[in-house]
């Protein structure tokens, strides 16, 4: 369970995130959507206690993240797949994290197997493809067998088989009663993965409801169209000459 109340982050006089209030519930996969620069990553960093909110608060599993003594047992996160020391192997990367939270070495081997990296577990991570890095990032998130998963763009760089595998994994985690919160800019993927969506634009909440309800109410036939309709006022970067339906401004 993730509960954000009035979450606000300001850099100088610019609001990256403004007055966000939403709840991510256990048992379903919740998608986190927004155009580039909408504040998704900032929000996720605030949830994980990495960035300090200017105002407002956010709790994970009932407590501010930083109040968890062994947070990896509560929350598994993937923020950037490339956040690895290029000279360190997946095994040692995961082992150090496990040790910092008092997790047994056997968990390291379990998650390496679970994400299919057993063959390269002792190789330096510097030469990994983005897909392999994503798998290692997912292994990192699963390490403490947490009740809550927070994943920033976990599908980036994965091939079709990898995407299908992650989708199955996330569904399974949700069915087990865990909280799954993932961001993605791939609408078709999100449509097939999420049950519920939180949509933000320019740092503000645009929608927080079931995916089916969102699409139905928008009058569009797909999540992609519904999303574009919702965020049309909130897109920061767009070619100057055309709007999304191709007509001139």
């Amino acid at each position: 369970m993730i509960e954000a109340k009035g979450l606000t982050k300001r850099y100088g006089d610019k609001y990256a995130v403004e007055d966000l209030t939403f709840t991510v519930r256990p048992g379903v996969v919740t998608g986190f959507l927004g155009p580039n620069g909408a504040g998704k990553s900032t929000t996720m960093r605030m949830i994980l206690g990495l960035d300090r909110p200017t105002r407002g608060s956010v709790t994970v599993n009932g407590k501010p993240y930083a109040d968890h003594r062994t947070p990896l047992r509560e929350v598994g996160a993937l923020l950037e797949a490339r956040a690895l020391h290029p000279g360190r192997s997946p095994y040692h990367h995961l082992l150090a994290l496990a040790q910092s939270n008092g997790l047994p070495r056997s968990r390291v081997l379990d998650v390496i197997d679970a994400v299919g990296l057993a063959d390269v577990a002792r190789r330096r991570a510097g030469r990994f493809s983005l897909g392999m890095e994503q798998r290692l990032g997912i292994a990192t998130a699963l390490l403490g067998d947490p009740r809550t998963l927070i994943l920033d763009e976990p599908l980036n760089g994965l091939d079709t088989e990898g995407i299908r595998w992650v989708r199955g994994l996330l569904r399974e985690q949700a069915v087990q009663g865990r909280t799954v919160f993932l961001s993605s800019h791939l609408m078709t993927e999100m449509a097939q993965t999420a049950d519920h969506v939180v949509v933000i634009g320019k740092g503000r909440l645009v929608a927080d409801r079931s995916l089916a309800g969102l699409v139905a109410e928008s009058g569009h036939s797909s999540l992609e169209d519904a999303f574009l309709g919702l965020t049309s006022d909130a897109v920061e970067f767009r070619p100057a000459t055309t709007t999304r339906n191709g007509s001139h401004r």
């Binding site: 956040a83 020391h85 040692h92 910092s100």
Partner: protein, 250 residues
Amino acid sequence: MSVVRAELTKFRSVSSTGWSLLSAVTLIVGFGILYSMVRVTRPPADPAGFDSVGVSLSGVQVAQLAVGVLGVLVMTNEYANGLIRTTFAAVPRRVPVLWGKAVVLAAAVFTLSLPAVFGAFFAGQSVLSAEHLDMSLGQRGAVQAVVGAALYLSVVALLGLGLGAILRRTAGGVAAVIGVLFGPQMLTGFLPTELADDVYRWLPSPAGLAITTARPDSTLLSPWAGFAVFLLYAAIVLALGAWCLRRRDA
């Protein structure tokens, strides 16, 4: 304790730490022997005033760069690619990460440089014995100077770690550690001579190096007082680093 184990795993699992430590050990021993050989070919006019321990430990002055840079890297390499966020997500109180790194770093530098400084001492003295300039380990101040050299290097590494935590970038951290170790001494040249001598002994590196001298040196603080001053500098930098880790967004 669990954070110390985690930091030890990180420290041991990348080859750059091994290379830095190996180069430090090589510089300590190699430079000590080399400079001893130079002094044998150019013996002092007054052998009574000759600092044979200092000559055999001269490699420490060069090796401090390698350990200082290692200290910086242990912190900044986590910032280079965002790994620091994963680290802080696992240890949200953050500051234990810095202490864990400090314990592992100081222990590793001390454990490896101790045999190196003893090796440099014995090798240097045996070279110097050709001109009867050598000193035995039993003579006054010798053990303190040799062990002190290893202690000095450990604290240099901690200074680098603290600067790395404050600056977060490798280039800036390396520049800062070089600046702190060598910069202030150069600036004393701009002061009036008497004032310069008074200031010099309190500067970080000269204060810390006092413990590596076996004979009383009027230009330096007494060995342990000097080391205490150097420790204080390192403690201030580390405390500032800890404050930055807590305060800033990761």
